[in-house]
């Protein structure tokens, strides 16, 4: 049962009610202002990006036809009626996919190794010289801001077509991305073991080996695995600019409307990415679990 309000309370209640109403109105006004600003930004962005809803509306059937068309063989039959014909190039594509994964693997590992060495030089708690830190950080920032496709384009110019410029592009990008993440981990460590090693006469390298590494290693591995997954995806499209892997064949097939080949290769890539996603997640969970137990 609701409590009855005494007469002397009502004046006070009225004040409270008005205060509440004012507060709600104020919040509403702020929300509306934010929405107006957002709306203006959206319109500006839509103008900049040349959004044409009419074109989308008119051509949307193209999209559905296109996607549906991916699953039709040259003979006009659905791909599912003849999987052998659909995957006629399975051996070749699997080889290209293996190349793509190897590119990501080599690129990730080398990039992680360089990032590993560099991350200690740009961690403020290990390096007292602010200049060294700042310069190393700018370098890492450069590596991760320039998209790997751009590196690939430049390296293709220098090294010629093939997987090598692709790997180098992945190395550059991975060094930048992982170096930054690694150094953030290093900056958050407990400094007591480092002081302990320093106090018993350990050199800088020994401090890192025996005081820093045991604290950061599982995080490093986890980040590297995540990066590997990202790199497999991007290695798949580096071929678009001639840097090896399955991307080149895929792009040719898309451009020339080899419909069923496109769907076959895309499904292969998606399945492979999912598998790697799943595998690295399992390993990462085991690592995190092992860390929490110890």
């Amino acid at each position: 049962m609701a409590r009855t309000v005494k007469p002397e309370d009502t004046a006070q209640m009225a004040d409270l009610v008005t205060a509440y109403a004012n507060h709600v109105a104020e919040r509403r006004r702020q929300t509306i202002m934010a929405l107006v600003v957002l709306g203006v930004v959206i319109l500006a962005a839509a103008w900049a990006a040349e959004v044409k809803p009419v074109v989308l509306f008119d051509h949307f059937s193209n999209f559905t036809t296109y996607v549906a068309g991916l699953f039709v063989l040259d003979t006009g039959a659905s791909v599912f009626t003849d999987p052998v014909e659909w995957y006629w190039g399975l051996g070749k594509w699997l080889g290209l996919l293996l190349d793509t994964i190897l590119m990501a693997y080599v690129g990730t590992l080398v990039g992680a190794a360089i990032g590993f060495v560099l991350c200690f030089t740009c961690s403020r708690n290990l390096v007292k010289n602010a200049w060294v830190c700042a310069i190393m950080r700018r370098f890492l920032e450069f590596g991760r801001t320039v998209p790997d496709i751009v590196f690939a384009l430049i390296f293709v110019g220098a090294f010629g077509l093939g997987p090598v410029p692709g790997v180098l592009a992945i190395v550059m990008h991975t060094t930048g991305a992982l170096g930054k993440l690694f150094s953030e981990v290093v900056e958050n460590i407990d400094m007591k073991p480092v002081e302990g090693i320093a106090a018993s006469g350990g050199s800088w390298v020994q401090q890192i080996r025996f005081a820093v590494l045991p604290q950061v290693m599982s995080n490093f591995v986890s980040y590297t695995l995540l990066r590997f997954e990202i790199n497999v995806r991007s290695a798949g499209v580096l071929g678009f600019v001639g840097a090896g892997g399955i991307g080149m064949t895929l792009m040719v097939s898309i451009r020339r409307f080899y419909a069923s080949d496109v769907s076959a290769m895309l499904l292969l890539i998606v399945a492979c990415v999912m598998l790697i996603d799943y595998g690295t997640e399992k390993v990462r969970h085991r690592l995190i679990g092992a860390e929490q137990r110890s």
């Binding site: 962005a45 900049a48 040349e50 989308l56 751009v150 093939g162 997987p163 018993s200 798949g236 998606v270």
Partner: protein, 288 residues
Amino acid sequence: MSSVQLHQVFMRDADAIATRHADIFGNPWGRRAPTLAVWGLIVAILFYGIWSLGFSLTLFADGLPNLGFIVRLMIPPNPETWQRVIYYLNQLIQTLGIAFLGTLCAALLAFPFSFLAAKNVVPNLLIHILSRRLFDTMRGVDTLVWALVWVNVVGLGPFAGTLAIICSDFGALAKLFSEAIEAADRKAVEGVMSSGGSDAQSVRFGIIPQVLPVITSQILYFFESNTRSATIIGVVGAGGIGLSLYEMINTLEWHQVSFIILLLLITVSAIDFVSTKLRLAIIGVRPV
């Protein structure tokens, strides 16, 4: 006793201490073997990769001087005329527009779908699995591939790029959102239900207030990373500054290339800065 002396004292009978505590100082091979085996495998695959991808000394002997030559040509960055600067800035604005609109539309589309894929909102296993696989498929296809597909559908230009970003981010964002929803505290939902709220109300007042800060910060994070992706979709003709970059690399105008890269660096760090500030303001604490 200073540290140096302590060190000397230890070193004097280091051998004796090592024999007394063999379990700590010894390196029993039995314990190290599995670790070594894993490292051995990792390095073996690395060398196999290096060999099978065709790395060779001659390639580097030819390529590195070329690279050095290109880098020398890149310095100093030089757009040559003001018209070009204005043209690049226009394309940069277009790039930002693509990234902004793409992220926003992807988030708006992903938001309702993420509830479908969250086990605690829709407890139907079939719907859960189907929607998760749909998200995985959409984000498994790279933005560049989506861009190629959309160029076929709506023609060359930034609109195709926007649609490409919407498609690939839809999958990624929907997955992240639904994970955030699944991690939400059940107590708030139960509270709304027990005071007579409907299912819709329990989502509106029980879940959304919990996940909104997480979701907003993820959207900002994706906007940052999309400014990077939007710069490259121009390579396949889907708008933005990537087109100029691609043309300039192909016509070997290295001064222009380095100028565009410089523009990109400045823009991306400016956006990183702003969105980090916004993220901190929204979630209150520094994200780890």
